[in-house]
């Protein structure tokens, strides 16, 4: 029987975060929006935090 494989949640969350962040940077490079340098750190912290949360959820599920 084929066992359904669950996606690796932290990779998924951080990946989606990076895609959104990259899209934002792209819009900044194209002068559609203006992303200030100071906003980068909070955004990345949020992505890293979401990744950690996802790791916690995953560990909890595995137990």
């Amino acid at each position: 029987m084929k066992r359904e494989r669950e996606p690796h949640l932290p990779s998924l969350v951080v990946g989606i975060g990076l895609v959104l962040f990259g899209a934002l940077l792209l819009l900044d490079a194209l002068d559609v929006v203006d992303v200030s340098g100071g906003a980068v750190a909070p955004m990345l912290l949020a992505i890293a935090g979401a990744g950690l949360l996802a790791t916690g959820v995953r560990e909890r599920r595995r137990r």
Binding site: S11, L25, G37
Partner: protein
Amino acid sequence: MIEHESRPDGPRRLERSRDDRAVAGVCAGVARYLGVDATVVRVVTVALLAFGGFGAFLYLAAWLLVPEQGAERPLLGVIDQRRTVQVAGIVVLAVACVALLGAWWDVGFWFGGGPLFLVVCGAAVLWFVSERRRDDEPVAAYVANATTTAPAAGGVDAETPAGGGADAGTPDGPAPGGGAGGGDDDDATLAHDPPPPIPPRRRGSWGLTALAVGGVMVTLGAAVALDAAGLYDLGWGGFVALAVALTGVALVASSFYGGARLLIPVGLLLALFLGGATAAGVSLSGGVGERDYRVTDGDDLRGTYELGLGHLQLDLRDIELARGVTHVKAELGAGLIEIVAPDGRFDDEDLTVGERADEGRGDGGIDSSKTIVVGSGDRRLEIDAHVGAGVIAITTRPGARGDWEWSSRCPAGGPALGLAGLRPTCEGDRDEA
């Protein structure tokens, strides 16, 4: 630890380890050959990296030229000679095409070198990974056969894309772990003693990570080349954004197909350093290093003074300004912009002329912009200075950078806090030197 020598009666053979590898098993293989701890060899290799990357070249050469444990031929010879020549021919042809296109569009022989470097590196990574997988197929087939039914040893050779090398390296002996002793004794095709077992390659997520990184590099290199060719104008910030987004896509994909978890720190670091630099307006297009300009005639002023990373100094002590207001831009990615002008001041300062003559002052942080005014009355120079990450300073003499006392000028914590943008302005003490 499994001691394995593929030719017990011959001289010892240098092989890359399969079961004790950090990257390609070179260090563990050398350690096993020399009879020393693998950590020692790894430390030496890392130390050699400091000597102009010598360790990296050595490692790469060993990766290409030293066969893997149990394999007959090295990585370069795993696929048959004809295919190797074909691949080499395609690579040479591709490089020639890139060079020709570069010359055609008049954008430099190698588009500045960057895109080609990225594409070649990415292709190399992809090739290495695909070769590793190809090299694994016969062993995996063997292990599967040996663990199910003993007389199925012939099935190993059913699919041999790796050519003779892989065949020769394919073990006919027992499977590692389980089927020790095997059931091959009654197999008529095996008249000789079976070679010792090959340990399974230690698997990590680095292979998929390398694959993803290679894919990102190839895509990025192609994007840079197209940009250099003038098909669109994305710029350095756009490429960084593309790299971050592609890494994210690779992570999302890997979460379903295998979990390249190593991409998480890679992506976050990429986003932190390059994304942060881009958002802060750091551009490396102006070059790297120290750039000093001394201008004595206002008519000789350029419209823009630019540097990517380092120290940009504009010495205006003896300048004779033209009549009217002259506007100049000073752009620095990261580092120090130093305007040497005794009567220079920030446009939002409120100091008397006497104070200004003796003081040096600076303003720093991330994505910092200031306007510096030199001269007065109807002969004025306005310098619009921008630094992505660093300091904009006004000094009274050149070379004052060496005397730049961060602790006294920025008593709250020096340049680190300034660069972090935690303290937007730091005004200096008297420069007594």
